[in-house]
């Protein structure tokens, strides 16, 4: 601190620049508190206050009726987390070390299947494996009962794995490859190197992936609705309390009940993170395409088999979505047609354009806010920024419907009357996804050598100039990653915005949701295919950018 005070820069820093600096910082504080903390508080208070009086009644009846549901939710979430994490470890290792020709194809499949449209996947599952399922009934010739927790766990595990595997591939890319060489040179075989060197190095990434899966499974209401049968979970109950029973206080209370295990998992992760500092040196610049590890020996072969099983399932599932978009049935026989696409025109009208615009705005603004938070956190190390960072991570671990509910409750009256506007949807998406850009920026910014910023200061640069001329240009890749992530998330989001959209402000995902809800499964499939295509195109274009960006270094 003493050195700081004596820096030339602090003496010649103009008031104006200091003012700008403070303004940016305060704006961020203000935004995070208003758009994350306040809505959450609104939900919590809703569950305690009935008719203007403080009461615990709701929690009493909640605990009486829903303990079983809580157990079910946790049971499913834990199983899903285990299976999906194991699957994604296998897939990511296999794809990372297979030869580059397959690598591209397999990564594209992962990207394609990263988006799992609500309901559609579950319905595809029924049409493949249900009582009259294409595989179970038509090919294998038996009648299966697909309803229950098995179906939920299977669908969720498969559905979350693509995104998880992509994240882990990113982690593997960041690991210093020379470690594998050393291991191989010292006589370790592939199996050994993977289990003793690679997987321990992936630990941090694996924990994050596990945590995210756990939270997403807890919050998922759409899979259990379709294939849960008589097996109920909390997320479904919360959703039904809004859409069927119109019991908001109960919905709020159930959401809070869901939030508790999520926050416990999150805090455990934070504690765990503290004493794991192996991976923090993620090196973005180290990029050697040589595959030192070969897929041979028992363990790598096992990974290969698991990967192919997983990919086959994914291809089957998405193929069946695609087929249902392009076909109709007549007297039990399927025929090819463009009718669904024509019919879907009536549904779409303008909603796709709106979705794309909202996603672009969310991508840009979200990346900037996330970047600024990580700047004040990592470089400036401003006191209290840790708390802001913690709050801004909350939306990611709370159920989407909880966050959406918070927005209606918080922003329906003066001075922040936003309900009914498009802005509330955009704000919801930006802040719901804020952890993505913040974490991506932090990963990049923490790589910047502190000596660089020190040097700038010694040369008399004001913080603002350092931010603008040094940090920002060095964080381009973070911007790109954040933008793509945010774009994808907004394009495919549903849970948190479903209660916020007004007549005339429909988004593509909601139109799909409506089509499927009213039994128009095939039209839902058409819209799902279009969503997947758009998102895939944007992902591919930007990952191209990203690769070029890397070569600059």
């Amino acid at each position: 601190m003493k050195i700081e005070k004596n820096r030339v820069s602090n003496k010649i820093g103009t008031h104006f620049l200091n003012f700008i600096d403070k303004l940016i910082l305060l704006t961020i504080l203000f935004l995070v508190i208003i758009f994350i903390f306040y809505p959450m508080l609104s939900v919590i208070s809703k569950s305690f206050i009935v008719n203007g009086e403080f009461t615990l009644d709701i929690y009493k009846s909640l605990l009486n009726k829903n303990i079983m549901l809580l157990k079910n939710s946790l049971f499913v979430a834990i199983l899903t987390t285990l299976i999906s994490t194991l699957l994604s470890i296998a897939v990511s290792i296999y794809i990372s070390f297979t030869n580059s020709k397959y690598k591209k194809i397999l990564t594209t499949i992962l990207m394609l299947t990263m988006i799992s449209p609500p309901f559609v996947s579950s319905l595809a599952y029924i049409s493949l494996f249900g009582r009259r399922g294409f595989i179970t009934h038509n090919i294998l010739g038996f009648t299966a009962n697909t309803y229950g927790w098995q179906g939920i766990v299977a669908m969720q595990s498969l559905g979350f794995t693509s995104l998880n595997a992509l994240m882990l591939i990113g982690v593997i890319n960041g690991i210093d490859k020379s470690l594998f060489n050393s291991s191989l040179d010292l006589g370790g075989n592939s199996s050994h190197t993977i289990s003793k060197i690679l997987i321990p190095l992936m630990r941090h990434g694996i924990i994050i992936v596990g945590l995210l899966t756990f939270v997403r499974s807890l919050a998922d209401f759409s899979t259990p609705i379709i294939i849960g049968g008589s097996f109920n979970v909390l997320a479904t109950q919360a959703y039904l309390n809004v859409v069927a029973y119109s019991n908001l206080p109960m919905a709020a209370a159930i959401s809070i009940l869901l939030f508790i295990p999520a926050i416990i998992a999150f805090i455990l992760y934070r504690i765990f993170l503290k004493d794991s500092n192996i991976i923090t040196g993620t090196n973005f610049r180290e990029e050697s395409d040589e595959t030192m590890l070969r897929i041979e020996g028992f363990f790598p072969r096992l990974l290969q088999i698991i990967s192919y099983l997983f990919l086959t399932m994914m291809i089957l599932q998405y193929l069946s979505i695609f087929i249902s978009a392009m076909t109709k049935q007549r007297f039990g026989t399927m025929y090819f047609t463009f009718d669904n696409i024509k019919e879907s025109k009536n549904y779409i009208s303008g909603s796709f354009l709106r979705s794309i615009i909202y996603s672009l705005i969310t991508g840009v603004v979200g990346s900037i806010i996330g970047f600024l938070i990580s700047y004040y956190l990592e470089i400036r190390k401003i006191k209290g920024m840790k708390i802001i960072d913690f709050i801004s991570t909350m939306p990611y671990i709370i159920p989407g419907t909880f966050f959406g509910l918070g927005y209606i409750l918080a922003f329906n009256k003066y001075p922040l009357e936003l309900t009914g506007t498009g802005l509330i949807v955009i704000l919801n998406c930006i802040f719901k996804q804020l952890p993505l850009p913040t974490k991506a920026s932090s990963a990049v910014i923490s790589q910047i050598n502190p000596q660089v910023t020190e040097a700038c200061k010694d040369l008399g640069a004001h913080d603002i100039y350092i931010l603008k001329d040094v940090i920002t240009p060095m964080s381009k890749s973070a911007f790109l990653i954040s933008f793509v992530n945010n774009f994808t998330a907004t394009m495919t989001t549903i849970g948190s915005i479903i209660f916020l959209v007004y007549p005339g402000k429909k988004l593509a995902t909601l139109v799909m949701f409506d089509a499927i809800q009213s039994g128009k499964y095939r039209i839902g499939s058409v819209i799902a295919c279009m969503l997947i295509l758009i998102t895939l195109v944007v992902n591919i274009i930007f990952s191209k950018f990203l690769l070029e960006e890397k070569n600059v270094y």
């Binding site: 940016i24 009582r131 069927a244 119109s246 009536n346 209606i408 409506d514 809800q517």
Partner: protein
């Protein structure tokens, strides 16, 4: 490049602050607009052309109907589809602020609840004179747009596979041979299935009725959480019998799969689908114009086409719809007021009966 990023960041931050401020301003001007509109409405011939009417509908399929309204009146229609329950939740969350001007379709019980809570505006259209009293609210808070009638969808493949007889009445469904072969939606979620429960209780009488549901429950493995599930899952062959709203879309399935729509012999439960104007509507005159439009004979005809309804299912006498062979005589004699006032006790007793299914 040097300055652009800084400027960009600042611009974005300021634009966000500005847009927040703009929202408040816009709201203020909306209020003014409302007052002006009210003044304008004092005069009889308010010019409605160019105004916007917001509608909450039950499905996206009404777009053409709304387009026709726009063509005839010049009033632009924006609409969104959602369930009655969700709508009530949102109106409650926003403390009575209406999210639209018109509420178009949905189970009558929700309309009765909304009327009770003072969320609706009364309007008695001239066009409603010849509509039978049982299809409209005496005080004009809601009006029926057509009837949902409850029938069975039967998957004949599954019947054959398991050697099951064709069900012809509600009583048949309690036959133990249908164990795990029947699907119905949770009546708290599905308006159609609530109509089935309420209607059958009225037909069979309290005691007998509850006994029937207790027996039926033994054949139902779980209650679906979406209104459309019984139809979808029976068609997919997941179940042999689904309890469904019998309209043309169900009859159309007969061409897609080996399924059949059955009207039970012992009675058909029915419920009007409501239409209402929200209290504090931003475009009250436009909303009234819409109700008039909807109730004209010509447009009732179009509505019958879109909804796939038989003439017997329309509220206005003499409207021709599809000929679905709906046996009007089998309609259960129902006291509709029970739909609203008995809803809570019925659903409570029902959920005690079925437990956690």
């Amino acid at each position: 490049m040097k300055n652009t990023s800084k400027i960009l960041i600042l611009l974005l931050i300021f634009s966000m602050i500005l847009s927040l401020a703009a929202c408040q301003k816009k709201e203020a001007s909306d209020d003014e607009g409302e007052i002006q509109e009210e003044i304008a409405n004092e005069g009889e011939n308010a010019d409605l052309e160019g105004t916007t009417l917001n509608i909450v509908a039950t499905s996206e399929s009404y777009k053409e109907f709304f387009d026709k309204f726009t063509d005839e009146t010049g009033i632009k229609v924006e609409f969104i589809s959602m369930s009655s329950g969700e709508l009530l939740s949102r109106v409650k969350a926003e403390e009575g602020k209406p999210m639209a001007d018109i509420w178009f379709g949905g189970g009558l019980d929700a309309f009765m609840e909304a009327k009770e809570e003072g969320l609706l505006e009364s309007y008695i259209s001239k066009e409603s004179e010849d509509i039978p009293a049982e299809f409209k609210d005496p005080e004009g808070y809601w009006i029926g747009k057509g009837l949902t009638i409850v029938g069975l969808l039967v998957n004949k493949d599954i019947l054959e596979e398991n050697n099951l007889p064709m069900p012809t009445s509600w009583k048949d469904l309690t036959n133990p041979v249908y164990k795990d072969e029947i699907i119905m939606s949770n009546p708290a979620i599905s308006g159609t299935n609530y109509a089935a429960v309420n209607g059958l209780l009225q037909m069979m009488g309290e005691e007998e009725g509850w006994k029937f549901f207790e027996e039926l429950d033994k054949n139902i493995p779980y209650y679906a959480k979406r209104g459309k599930d019984p139809q979808l899952k029976t068609m997919e062959g997941e179940f042999a019998i689904g309890i469904i709203p019998a309209d043309k879309s169900a009859f159309d399935l007969q061409e897609e799969q080996n399924v059949e729509v059955v009207f039970p012999e012992d009675g058909i439960p029915w419920v009007p689908e409501g239409v209402a104007i929200f209290k504090n509507s931003q475009n009250l005159e436009g909303a009234k114009a819409f109700i008039d439009f909807m109730l004209s004979k010509e447009n009732q005809q179009i509505l019958a086409q879109i909804d796939g309804k038989d003439g017997a299912q329309m509220v206005k006498p003499g409207v021709e719809g599809y000929d679905l062979g709906v046996p009007e005589k089998r309609f259960i004699k129902q006291d509709l007021s029970s739909f609203g006032k008995d809803r809570e006790p019925i659903l409570e007793r029902w959920s005690e009966l079925v437990g956690d299914k």
